[in-house]
């Protein structure tokens, strides 16, 4: 395998004194679908923002294709971002543009392609996600699953080397869910991209990914291939994969003693 596309070293990030990521180390090689799993609020989305250069790390660094992201100037960062795609949680389609214009957006902003060629390219991208017939619709007329497919078409508009998916499976019915899942796999293979999927949908993602990282308490607690993960006996991974209510991730948010909180007299004790 050639050099890895993304290298993350000792990455730490905190929001005004509240640490989100403490020390994250990862390497992701080209052409793979990689899942980052973790409970809600474990800093998965922040990790994506760090890779995309939207926020700067407090310590450590993210290297994409050999470049340290947070040290890039504005222009270099924008040049790098043209090679990245990002699929937001609910698609984040531009509501004032039609499906066609949404997909064409980046081509019109970044290239001088003639309109006829843009038309062909857009229809090809839409065909890849099965929505060529919906090019004239407005985002408000789309269902959640369709909107996410359009967003997927938009993010592959300039044939990026990397696509990041922020919770692509949230709020979808089982059919749309497996459609999106298989699209991620197929597009990654067909276009030779690398995909990073941030999700907490275990069953769907284990079907399509090559490698899984588990993120908890700001560090990578476990990683492995889907087969390894399913067999894992690590308590956290076991709890997460099987969706158990209590375990290393407690049901209760840390709190004072229940009795004290309720101001109960302790003379029974």
């Amino acid at each position: 395998m050639s050099e890895p596309l993304i290298e993350i070293k000792d990455l730490a990030f905190s929001y005004s004194a509240r640490p989100i990521l403490k020390s994250v180390n990862m390497t992701m090689s080209r052409g793979k679908v990689i899942a980052i799993m973790g409970g809600s609020g474990s800093g998965k989305t922040t990790l994506l923002r760090l890779i995309g250069g939207e926020v700067k790390p407090t310590a450590g660094c993210v290297k994409v294709a050999g470049q340290v992201v947070h040290k890039l100037g504005r222009n270099d960062l924008f040049r790098l971002r043209r090679k990245m795609g990002m699929l937001f949680q609910f698609g984040a389609l531009f509501t004032d543009l039609s499906v066609f214009d949404n997909v064409a957006f980046q081509m019109r902003e970044h290239t001088n392609l003639p309109e006829s060629m843009i038309r062909d390219l857009v229809l090809m991208k839409l065909h890849a996600v099965g929505l060529r017939g919906a090019y004239h619709l407005m985002p408000a007329e789309l269902s959640g699953g369709m909107a996410r497919r359009v967003a997927l078409a938009r993010s592959i508009a300039l044939d990026p080397m990397l696509i990041m998916y922020d919770e692509p499976f949230t709020g979808l019915d089982p059919i749309s869910l497996s459609v999106i899942g298989s699209l991620i796999r197929r597009l990654t293979d067909a276009l030779g991209m690398t995909s990073i999927v941030v999700t907490h949908d275990v069953q769907e993602s284990l079907k399509i990914v090559d490698y899984v990282y588990f993120l908890a308490d700001g560090v990578i607690t476990a990683h492995g291939t889907p087969a390894e993960v399913k067999e894992s006996v690590t308590p956290f991974v076991h709890q997460f994969v099987h969706g158990e209510e209590d375990g290393p991730v407690p049901f209760h948010y840390p709190a004072e003693m229940y009795q004290e909180d309720l101001r109960l007299e302790t003379h029974f004790a």
Binding site: F78, R81, F90, T95, E109
Partner: protein, 265 residues
């Protein structure tokens, strides 16, 4: 007791510091918008699109309000002036009050509540639905692509709307004074033309509305861009746009007036 006093002093201090902090953010954002305005002028279609939304769609409310304000001015002016036997001065009264004050100020207030709030809500919603982040990730600067065209559309539309407001107002005053009440048409127009100076009154009025346009749209885009990305955040920002704009318009109006019409007449 002293502890309570200290906390209330702290609360005041906190508010003041917060306010100044926000003012600084707004100023920096404003400069950023100006610096990133090149795109708006190179791709003027973006601005034209926004002029449609902030200018053309504000037309009805501006024209109708202008007409009514002018009619009321004509009626009230006539009531008072006829006591002194100078009904013909009603033209002067209507035109001067509209061109100097009511035209720019009223249309800016209406513009803030019609177009300013819409700009804030739109940008705020785009932020809440991650459209701005998505645009940034596509290597397109949202300030250059989304904010600057809206800003310039507002700045261009405002003086035009104010001029239309004034013209409708004068027409309304004419309707009431000349057509309904029967003030002499010739003296209505000639007293108006004698009193209203092109450079002194009309140009100053246009300059005022340019300032208001900058103030209102700058506030609107800043509030939208700064809004917390939630439903309450956006609705709060929309309200703040209207309130802050109204205060800014009236305050700015006083400052501009004292510079423009100082010590004369």
């Amino acid at each position: 007791m002293p502890k309570r006093i200290i906390t209330s002093i702290q609360a005041i201090g906190h508010r003041v510091i917060d306010g100044i902090w926000r003012l600084g953010c707004a100023a920096r954002f404003f400069v950023l918008v100006l610096l990133k305005s090149m795109t708006s002028f190179l791709r003027f279609t973006l601005v034209i699109r926004e002029i449609y939304f902030v200018g053309v769609l504000s037309l009805i409310i501006i024209l109708v309000s202008g007409l009514f304000v002018g009619m009321v001015l004509g009626l009230q002016g006539y009531e008072t002036l006829q006591k002194y036997g100078s009904e013909s001065a009603v033209g002067t009264l209507v035109a001067l009050s509209l061109v100097r004050e009511l035209g720019p100020v009223m249309s800016a207030l209406l513009f803030a509540s019609r177009a300013g709030s819409a700009i804030t809500a739109e940008i705020g919603l785009m932020k809440a639905t991650e459209q701005l982040s998505a645009m940034g990730m596509m290597a397109v600067d949202p300030i250059a692509r989304i904010v600057a065209p809206r800003f310039w559309a507002g700045v261009i539309s405002m003086p035009l709307l104010a001029a239309m407001f004034s013209v409708m107002g004068v027409f309304g005053g004419y309707l009431v004074a000349v057509v309904f009440i029967g003030v002499d048409e010739g003296s209505f127009w000639s007293s108006m033309q004698n009193a209203v100076d092109f450079r002194y009154d009309i140009v100053n009025g246009v300059i005022k509305s340019c300032f208001f346009g900058v103030a209102v749209t700058a506030i609107a885009v800043f509030e939208g861009f700064d809004a917390p990305p939630t439903a309450e955040g956006v609705s709060g920002a929309t309200t703040r746009t209207v309130v802050t704009s109204a205060l800014a318009i009236l305050g700015l109006d006083f400052v501009l007036t004292s510079f423009m019409f100082r010590g004369v007449d």
